[in-house]
Subunit: 339 residues, 2 copies
DNA sequence: CTGTTAGCGCTTTCAG
DNA sequence: CTGAAAGCGCTAACAG
């Protein structure tokens, strides 16, 4: 049995195509009676409504929102921070009957979808920088998160300030301090940064975090050499373990280690405990993000809690509202038991 | 500046629309020279290729695959098992230039997307049973995972056998045993099942797991009353904590607790350790799934490892291949340190 | 309130 | 290899 078209149905019911269309899309254009009559008849003969593909072309609207993630879905989908963000987004989209298309930030271009999605939420700077340009050149709404695109509304937290505050809480004068950073330089593996050229030093949030750490360090009278700053290419346990081992085996060992994510901090904590290091007696650790697992761990991780769910919800709301107003979301310093 | 259409471009370049279309879609229809010449000219004037919305309508193909999850995205997106599955799916889709649309299993219907997606991967029985019917009635390819749909290819592991084996490994004659189950009955909160009507007893994989446990229990000469079987509505820590408390406070306390997921088992382990219970001396625990966190925990969880990444990859491959052959994937019993 | 009609932008036959 | 033309299925303006 071939799929029914609106035209078939109109013929069968002996009314015009406009009437069928209106019955589904514009209730005000026909009497309530006629409408329910038509809708029932449609149900009876198995017509579930106008073909969406045709609607998309005709209306220029698909009810699909693309969520452009910073990196390949492969990485992103297992990152707990990204996940809670997606959770927030999906909650609002669902309320508004929109659908969610996941788009990888290392894709070649957005041309595959730009013609039919209703808008973009861009979570973090796409690994492929060309996407940023393309996103900005097209005319559909874009909301950026943890990242800025000229002229587009953005949602952020104050990463510099948050990092400054958590570092201040952890540091004591005379400390030896190390930093486990994220995407500070362009390297495919865990390594110390030395004087490698910095990656997106102007725009990336991890550089803002570094700025915050550095301000706190300076104020406390502590210097950190670039061989005490590690770079992880991705926020994944596997890279964190390597960095954790390297830093814990340094001699002399640092008194404080500032980590740019909870994943990193947790892995470090695990390593340290295994080595029999007393936390926070011999070593203080701070994280960033406030993921659930960080709260489950004993001792509780000192970290910056940002509500990713809310971030996601706000991003989706902002996109759907069409507003062009950026916003800065609150965060919370959780002192925990590791400093 | 208005967006260019294929027609505009054809006029500007002084060729027919068919030629432009062919240049983009069917290289064999024109000389290589002409083709690159056209493609370059297009790039120059800023035409990135045929409008996708129109292509979708015309070709009946969108390169979008819908992943129908068992429940709302809200729940699913933070479930580590689901996430690794999505990871697998996305990896294969990306290789094949397909895009991923996440679809909630508690949606009202699939009509919003059925007209334009190229196919469906259905991960677990959708909470809204109507979706199953609709999926089966439409003509686009469907692959089911951890679940069966008449006439459609399915990917599963042998849940009954795996559960039997892990239970056998954990049980000793004379044990008192309890079960922490998942979606066995229709209840919105954690509770014992007693003799509530079972939910999808025929088709659900958690009932297969229960079958496996029961076979092992019987063989070992152990009886488990229905007030020693708990039901969790979702695979989430919050429900697990409640069940864990209830079961650990039972008196006499069980010697073995069989959990239908690692999330449940981990939460139980945590509770037990907090209460000072010796694992496995005073209490043995088994999980199911083999999530990463279960391997990070000390003592290591005894569990059934199934590779969700592979499941996802196989599901996507199967969908794209158009084959109609179901498959059963291997699993591995990991004895761990909790039994 | 209903029917007619011109496209939305493209693909693909078909004749040249 | 090219150009003309018929739709894919629908919506919305317009005239009745």
């Amino acid at each position: 049995m071939k799929k029914l078209t609106l035209k078939d149905v109109a013929k069968q019911l002996g009314v015009s195509t406009a009437t069928i269309s209106n019955a589904f899309n514009r209730p005000d254009q026909l009497s309530a009676n006629k409408r329910t009559e038509i809708l029932e008849a449609c149900k009876e003969i198995g017509y579930t409504g106008p073909n969406r593909a045709a609607q998309i072309l005709r209306k220029g609207q698909s009810n699909i929102v693309a969520l452009v993630l910073a990196d390949s879905l492969d990485y992103m989908v297992t990152d707990p921070v990204a996940n809670t963000f997606i959770q927030g987004v999906s909650r609002v989209l669902r309320e508004n009957q929109k659908h969610l298309l996941l788009y990888a930030g290392d894709s070649d271009s957005i041309t595959d979808v730009v013609d039919f999605v209703d808008g973009f939420i861009c979570y973090g700077a796409p690994r492929n920088g060309a996407l940023s340009t393309q996103l900005n050149q097209q005319s559909k709404p874009v909301v950026t998160v943890d990242f800025n695109l000229e002229g587009r509304p953005a949602i952020n937290i104050d990463n510099e300030k948050a990092s400054y505050e958590i570092a201040k809480a952890a540091l004591r004068p005379g400390d030896r301090a190390a930093i486990l950073g994220l995407r500070l330089i362009d390297s495919p593996s865990t390594c110390r940064i030395y004087d490698s050229p910095l990656l997106d030093a102007e725009s990336s949030i991890t550089h803002r975090r570094l700025d915050g750490y550095c301000r706190a360090l300076k104020e406390t009278g502590i210097e950190v050499a670039t061989d005490w700053i590690w770079n992880l290419p991705e926020n994944a346990g596997m890279y964190a373990v390597q960095a954790a081992r390297e830093v814990l085996q340094s001699s002399p060992r640092p008194d404080v280690i500032l980590c740019m994510s909870d994943i990193i901090a947790l892995e470090l904590l695990q390593c340290a405990l295994t080595m029999g290091i007393d936390i926070p007696g011999e070593l203080r650790i701070t994280g960033f993000d406030g993921i659930e697992e960080a709260a489950r761990t004993r001792p509780y991780m000192a970290t910056v809690c940002q509500s990713s769910v809310e971030k996601g919800m706000e991003a989706a709301k902002l996109l759907l509202s069409g507003d062009n107003t950026s916003m800065s979301l609150p965060y919370e310093i959780k002192v925990g038991e590791t400093i």
